[in-house]
C-alpha cells in the first residue's frame, strides 16, 4: 500500500511539474493543482497509514496500544487542502482575467505583448 502511494505521489509531482513548465496558462494552473494534491498525499503517507482505526484512544485504554490513527497528519492535510483550495480559486480567476486582457493563452506571447505595451 505504501509503495503504491509513493508511486502515485511521485507521478503527481512529476505530472504537476511537467505541466507547470508548459507554455499554456491553463496547463500551468492544472500543474499547480496536481502539485498541491501530491504534497497532501505525501503528508498522508508520511503520517503512518493505519487501516480502519479512528484517531482516538478509548477511555478505558490503560496503555498505549498501536491501534489508533495519528490525528496530526489529518489536521495538516485538512489545513493544506483548504489553503491550497483558496489559492487555486484565486489563481484560476487571475488566469481567466489575464486571458481576457491579453487575449492569448500562450505565456510567451503574453510576455511579448506586455513588453510592447
Amino acid at each position: 500500500m505504501e509503495v503504491l502511494l509513493s508511486l502515485s505521489i511521485a507521478l503527481l509531482y512529476a505530472a504537476g511539474i511537467f505541466l507547470m513548465l508548459r507554455r499554456s496558462l491553463v496547463r500551468l494552473i492544472i500543474g499547480i493543482i496536481l502539485l498541491g494534491n501530491g504534497a497532501n498525499l505525501l503528508i498522508f503517507l508520511l503520517g503512518r497509514i493505519t487501516k480502519g482505526k479512528p484517531p482516538i484512544i478509548g477511555a478505558d485504554a490503560e496503555f498505549m496500544m498501536d491501534s489508533y490513527a495519528d490525528p496530526i497528519p489529518q489536521a495538516l492535510i485538512l489545513t493544506a487542502i483548504v489553503i491550497s483550495f483558496g489559492l487555486q480559486a484565486f489563481a484560476i480567476i487571475l488566469i481567466k482575467r489575464a486571458y481576457r486582457v491579453v487575449k492569448t493563452d500562450d505565456l510567451d506571447e503574453m510576455q511579448v505583448k506586455i513588453e510592447q505595451r
Binding site: 498541491g36 504534497a39 503517507l45 508520511l46 497528519p73 495538516l76 489559492l87 489575464a98
Partner: protein, 502 residues
C-alpha cells in the same frame, strides 16, 4: 505583564481588518483607521520589546496545551526587532497610502488586505511551530496576491501570474519539507525538533529536508537562481504596494532562514559553501541587473535582490558576528527599501512617470524634497554614518576573519555597484535634463494637494529616514542588542528551555 498579551500583534491587525471590511463603503474612514491602528501597533511593539530587550524569551502556549503537543508562540529578540520594524514601516506606508492610493483601489479593499498582510507577518514572526509558520506564510501570500492585482492593469496581471506561480510552488515545496520532517521526527514544534535533531545527529534525510527548506525560503526571499519573479512582479503595482512588498515580504524569507537554519539544521561544510556561493552570486548579479534599468522601480527591485545576498552571506558565515550583521542589516534594509519605494511614489505624483528619462531638475523645483531623496539614497547605498554602513562593515570584517575572501570581494563589489547605480539615479533625478516634454509644475497630482496632505506624504518618508539615521547614529546600543539576538540564535538552548518548560 499578562502572558497572553503576546497575541496583541495578531489581534490588532485582525480587528482593524474586520472594522475596515465593515466600513467597506467608507474608504475615508478606512484610511484613518488603518493609520491609527498602525501607530497603536508601533506603541505596542515598543512596549513588548521592552520586556525581551535583556535577552529573555517570552513563550505562550495556545490554549494552555503544553509543549510540544500544543502550538507555541515565541517572542524573542529577533521577533521583537522585526515586529517593531514592521509596525514602523506599516505606519509610514499607511500614511502614504491614506493620502496617495487611488479611490478605485481603496474602495475595493486595499486597507483590509493591507491589515491581513500585516496579520500574517506578525503571526509568522511569533510562530513557534513549523506548520503554524506555513499557515502564516499562506496568509501573507494570499493577501499579497490580491494586493498585487488590485487595479487590474495589464502589467500587473502579467507580473502577478509569475508571482502567484512561484509563490505557490514555494508553498508546495515548504509543505513537502514539513511532511518529510514530521514523518521522520514526529513533532512540529520548533524547539522540540531542534532538540530531536541535536540528539539524533544529522543524517542524509535531515540534510535533504534542509535543502527542501532552503529552496522554499529561497524562492520567497529571492536568492540567486530563484529571484526572477521579483523584478517582474514588484514594479507593476502602485508605489505604496511595492513599498510594502519590498520592505516586508522578502524579509520574511530571510527570517525563516534565520529561524529554521539556526534552530534545526546544523550547517555542515557543504551547505555553508553552497550558501556562500549563492550569496555572492545573488549580490553581484542583482547589482549588475540594476545597472541598465530605466524604470525606477525595476532598479530598486534589483537592488532588493542584491541586498538579500548580503543577508544570506551573514547567515552563511554562521558565526556570532555573521548573524549580528545579518540581523542588523535586515532591520536597516526593511526601512531603507521602503523609503526608496515611497520616494519613487512621491516622484510619480510629482512628475507623472516612473521612467528615469522623464525626471530631472528636481533640485530647482523642490529643493527640500531633494535633500530627503539624497538621504534615502545614501542610507541604502551604505555610506557612513548612515545605517547601511555598520552592518556591512560587520559582514566584511567577519568574512575576512573567517577567510572567506570571495565573500568579502562579493560584498565590496555589490556595494560599489549599488553606490554607482544610486548615485546615477539621484543625479539624473535632481540635476539631469528631462528628455521628454514636461508636465507643467502646477499640473501634477502633488501640486494639487492641500499643504497638509503634501506634508503627510513627506512625513511618511521623513519618519522612515529618521528611523534609518538613528539606526546609524545609535550604533553602540544597537550592536549590543543584535549581538544578544545573534547569541540567542546561535545557542538555541535558551529558546528550547523557554518553550519546553511550559
Amino acid at each position: 505583564m499578562q502572558a497572553n498579551t503576546i497575541f496583541l500583534p495578531i489581534l490588532v491587525p485582525m480587528v482593524t481588518a474586520v472594522i475596515c471590511m465593515i466600513a467597506w463603503y467608507k474608504p475615508k474612514f478606512q484610511r484613518w483607521i488603518s493609520l491609527a491602528s498602525s501607530i497603536i501597533m508601533v506603541l505596542i511593539s515598543l512596549w513588548m520589546l521592552n520586556s525581551v530587550i535583556g535577552g529573555s524569551i517570552w513563550t505562550v502556549q495556545a490554549g494552555h496545551w503544553s509543549a510540544p503537543y500544543g502550538i507555541s508562540f515565541v517572542y524573542d529578540g529577533l521577533s521583537g526587532a522585526l515586529i517593531l520594524t514592521t509596525s514602523i514601516v506599516s505606519a509610514a506606508c499607511s500614511l502614504f497610502a491614506g493620502l496617495a492610493i487611488r479611490s478605485n483601489r481603496a474602495s475595493f479593499g486595499f486597507f483590509p488586505l493591507f491589515q491581513f498582510l500585516l496579520l500574517g507577518l506578525y503571526g509568522a514572526y511569533l510562530a513557534g511551530d513549523i506548520f503554524n509558520l506555513y499557515v502564516w506564510f499562506e496568509v501573507i501570500i494570499i493577501s499579497s496576491f490580491v494586493l498585487i492585482t488590485l487595479g487590474g492593469e495589464k502589467s500587473q496581471l502579467a507580473g502577478a501570474v509569475k508571482y502567484v506561480t512561484l509563490n505557490m510552488l514555494a508553498s508546495v515545496i515548504f509543505l513537502s519539507g514539513i511532511a518529510v520532517l514530521f514523518g521522520t521526527l514526529g513533532t512540529l514544534n520548533l524547539a522540540d525538533l531542534s532538540e530531536k535533531i541535536a540528539n539524533l545527529g544529522q543524517d542524509n534525510l535531515i540534510n535533504t529536508i534542509g535543502v527542501l527548506f532552503f529552496v522554499a525560503f529561497g524562492i520567497k526571499a529571492a536568492i540567486f537562481p530563484l529571484y526572477f519573479w521579483l523584478p517582474d512582479a514588484y514594479p507593476t503595482p502602485p508605489a505604496v504596494i511595492s513599498a510594502i512588498f519590498g520592505g516586508l515580504l522578502t524579509k520574511v524569507g530571510i527570517y525563516a532562514y534565520l529561524r529554521v537554519f539556526s534552530l534545526l539544521f546544523i550547517q555542515d561544510h557543504f551547505i555553508q559553501q553552497l550558501m556562500m556561493y549563492i550569496a555572492i552570486l545573488t549580490m553581484v548579479i542583482g547589482a549588475i541587473g540594476a545597472l541598465r534599468q530605466q524604470d525606477m522601480r525595476k532598479l530598486i527591485s534589483f537592488l532588493i535582490v542584491s541586498h538579500i545576498g548580503f543577508l544570506l552571506s551573514g547567515i552563511a558565515l554562521h558565526s556570532k558576528e555573521g548573524y549580528t550583521g545579518s540581523a542588523y542589516y535586515l532591520i536597516h534594509d526593511m526601512v531603507g527599501k521602503t523609503s526608496l519605494f515611497l520616494v519613487t511614489g512621491l516622484l510619480f505624483k510629482i512628475r507623472g512617470s516612473f521612467d528615469i528619462r522623464d525626471h530631472g531638475n528636481l533640485a530647482n523645483d523642490y529643493p527640500r524634497i531633494s535633500i530627503f531623496i539624497v538621504l534615502a539614497a545614501l542610507t541604502v547605498a551604505g555610506t557612513p554614518p548612515f545605517s547601511g554602513f555598520w552592518p556591512k562593515l560587520i559582514l566584511i570584517k567577519e568574512s575576512w576573519v573567517q577567510g572567506a575572501y570571495h565573500l568579502t570581494t562579493g560584498i565590496i563589489l555589490a556595494s560599489a555597484i549599488t553606490l554607482w547605480v544610486l548615485a546615477g539615479l539621484v543625479s539624473k533625478i535632481l540635476w539631469g535634463q528631462k528628455e521628454h516634454p514636461e508636465m507643467k509644475m502646477g499640473d501634477s497630482f502633488f501640486e494639487k494637494l492641500k499643504p497638509i496632505r503634501k506634508a503627510g506624504l513627506l512625513l511618511s518618508i521623513i519618519s522612515l529616514l529618521i528611523v534609518s539615521i538613528s539606526l546609524g547614529f545609535f550604533y553602540q546600543p544597537l550592536y549590543q542588542f543584535f549581538s544578544m539576538v545573534s547569541s540567542q540564535l546561535l545557542e538555541p538552548y535558551s529558546y528550547i528551555q523557554s518553550v519546553l518548560s511550559k
